[in-house]
């Protein structure tokens, strides 16, 4: 389970990057397009474009490990969540709408920081959206600074 503040943080207007890995242990990077925590099931659903990040999503298989780092763009406050993928499905209409809302609100947050729509043009992609569900097993502070990488919690 994630605490409420962590759950709120990942579903807020935060930048999100994620990584899976292949059998040769090579990491593959993808960018998320919204995430949410389901308190009833206890897992995180990360939305990502399967065609923009084909290597990342190809290695997002049930049972495979995944790492997700979320970062608040105005102060670089960051968290990394690691876990095991429970399942990958095509995004539902609700999730597609959620991804669109995420993109719109991120663009609104980034504009006053001087980062334009053009600069973010390929960062947020909701084409061929999939939902990657994973159980959050490990949580780390990732804010740049001496505490970066410090483990906050480990699920037994």
């Amino acid at each position: 389970m994630l605490e409420e503040d962590v759950a709120a943080f990942i579903s807020d207007t935060v930048m999100m990057i994620a990584a899976t890995r292949d059998d040769a242990m090579r990491a593959h990077i993808g960018r998320g397009c919204g995430a949410s925590f389901d308190p009833e099931v206890g897992d995180v659903a990360l939305l990502a474009s399967s065609t923009q990040w084909p290597d990342f999503t190809a290695n997002a298989r049930s049972g495979a490990p995944i790492a997700l780092t979320v970062c608040r763009p105005d102060n670089y406050q960051s968290l990394q969540i690691k876990g095991q993928i429970a399942g990958v499905t095509l995004a539902t209409d609700d999730q597609a709408e959620r991804a669109q809302r995420y993109i719109d609100s991120m663009l609104a947050v980034m504009a006053p920081l001087g980062i334009s729509r053009l600069q973010l043009s390929t960062v947020f992609s909701n084409a061929d959206l999939v939902a990657i569900r994973f159980w959050p097993a490990d949580l780390f502070i990732q804010t740049p600074g001496p505490e970066a990488g410090e483990r906050l919690r480990r699920e037994a």
């Binding site: 990057i17 994620a18 990584a19 990491a27 490990p65 780092t69 600069q119 390929t122 990488g149």
Partner: protein
């Protein structure tokens, strides 16, 4: 593999990169990375000093995956990296370290981000990430609207034909504007005595700011001088959220002569003026536009800066070798002297105050004191570069101290200030003191 040279704009640090690794259990780790540094066509450098998990994973597998993004076009590339070496010194370490120090200074965290080591990676592959559904149509790869190599060649051709320091200083800033688009720029000369830099020429600012100072090590200009390295900040918004670099850069006397500045600089570059292994000053340029200066602009400015430095060194050599003595000792201007004014000299740092207003310090201050003292004692107001060089009181043992440039600075500072003392240059190697009033000299020992 996409050649790294074609994605140089992705190594500008405008948008954070992403790095991912895998641990022994096969769990990935992913984090943002402030900067990926281009080293050569096969290598990049990373300064991932805080992310210990990444470092541990790299030690284990020797591999990392990085996504870089072009801050102008949003085009992304993925790099497959293989760790090669880690270094705690050397040119790449120095460059990355200086860049981090300047950025840390901008964020007010100057002691937080000290670089421990820089890691060099071989780039096994570099692939373009084709945008599937870009939010905006990506602009076509900008066609270079200037051939900066040709412009630099033309600039150095013109500058190398100039025969005096003053024309060189002003014309070089004009040429940088006309040929390379550097609209706000200044040249500062180094004063080893106080480890300071003083503005001697500027262009594109509301005021010239002659004599405005920056301490070695302060801000982008001071660090460029201290480390003798070119420094460029492509996008200041990301690092500092409008903390004024200029305010941080100014030294002890900041309130006395404001440094020329633009309201909201977004992009800055500082290049040390080096010739014969010696630093004579720094040339600085800034812009209100983010990413105004690319690595190509940097290269052009470096070429031109080296020509400026070489010419200044040659002028000093020529001046030192010339045998022009003082022409006369007539007390021109003395007859009109009426009003008395306070003239304070601080031997500790060469500081001069006129009527309690700060004027200048360092070697130019000592020179002015010498002129005014001679005038007061003997009525003499004509001097020569030659006699100054021979006077050990100025600590100018040879050509290396940029006497001519300091005299230009002194003359300009006095002129911008407007009376009662001026310096004229009636002829090459000649100095004429013009005083309107009677100086009441006071030497303040501290």
């Amino acid at each position: 593999m996409t050649p790294l040279e074609t994605i140089r704009d992705s190594f500008e640090g405008i948008m954070p990169s992403v790095i991912a690794t895998t641990d022994a259990a096969g769990m990935p780790n992913v984090s943002y990375l402030s900067h990926v540094y281009y080293v050569d066509s096969q290598h990049v450098a990373l300064s991932n000093q805080f992310f210990s998990k990444t470092a541990a994973n790299v030690r284990l597998h020797g591999r990392a995956t990085v996504v870089v993004i072009d801050g102008r076009t949003s085009l992304q590339h993925v790099l497959d990296l293989v760790f090669e070496s880690s270094s705690q010194s050397g040119p790449i370490f120095d460059r990355v370290s200086a860049q981090l120090d300047v950025m840390a200074g901008l964020q007010g965290k100057s002691h937080m981000l000290k670089l421990r080591a820089v890691d060099i990676y071989r780039v096994e592959d570099c692939r373009r990430i084709d945008p599937v559904a870009p939010l905006e149509e990506l602009p076509p790869k900008p066609v270079a609207n200037r051939d900066l190599l040709a412009e630099a060649a033309a600039a150095t051709a013109e500058l190398s034909a100039i025969t005096d320091a003053e024309t060189l200083l002003d014309r070089s800033l004009e040429i940088l504007d006309e040929r390379c688009g550097f609209r706000h720029s200044m040249i500062l000369i180094a004063d080893d005595e106080g480890r300071k830099l003083q503005t001697v020429a500027s262009r594109g600012y509301p005021h010239f700011g002659f004599g405005a100072e920056i301490a070695f090590g302060d801000g982008i200009i001071g660090v460029a001088a201290e480390r003798r390295l070119t420094l460029r900040i492509a996008d200041m918004r990301r690092g500092q959220r409008y903390v004024s670099a200029v305010a941080l850069a100014t030294g002890l006397y900041s309130a006395d002569i404001p440094l020329p500045s633009i309201a909201e600089p977004q992009c800055q570059i500082a290049v040390p003026l080096m010739a014969g292994g010696r630093l004579s000053g720094v040339i600085f340029a800034e812009s209100e536009e983010s990413f105004a200066f690319s690595y190509a602009d940097e290269a052009a400015l470096e070429i031109i800066a080296r020509q400026i430095a070489a010419s200044l060194a040659i002028f000093e050599l020529t001046d030192a070798a010339s045998d022009v003595a003082t022409r006369g000792t007539s007390a021109a201007g003395a007859k009109e002297a009426k009003r008395a004014f306070g003239f304070q000299f601080f031997p500790r740092d060469g500081g001069i105050f006129i009527d309690n207003d700060y004027v200048i310090r360092g070697v130019p201050g000592r020179l002015l004191y010498h002129f005014v003292r001679c005038y007061a004692d003997t009525g003499r107001c004509e001097f020569s570069n030659r006699e100054i060089r021979r006077d050990r009181a100025f600590n100018l043992p040879d050509f290396k101290d940029n006497l001519e440039t300091r005299l230009i600075l002194l003359r300009r500072r006095l002129e911008e200030r407007g009376g009662p003392i001026r310096i004229e240059r009636p002829d090459r190697g000649q100095i004429r003191l013009v005083i309107e009033g009677v100086p009441e000299i006071r030497v303040v020992e501290e």
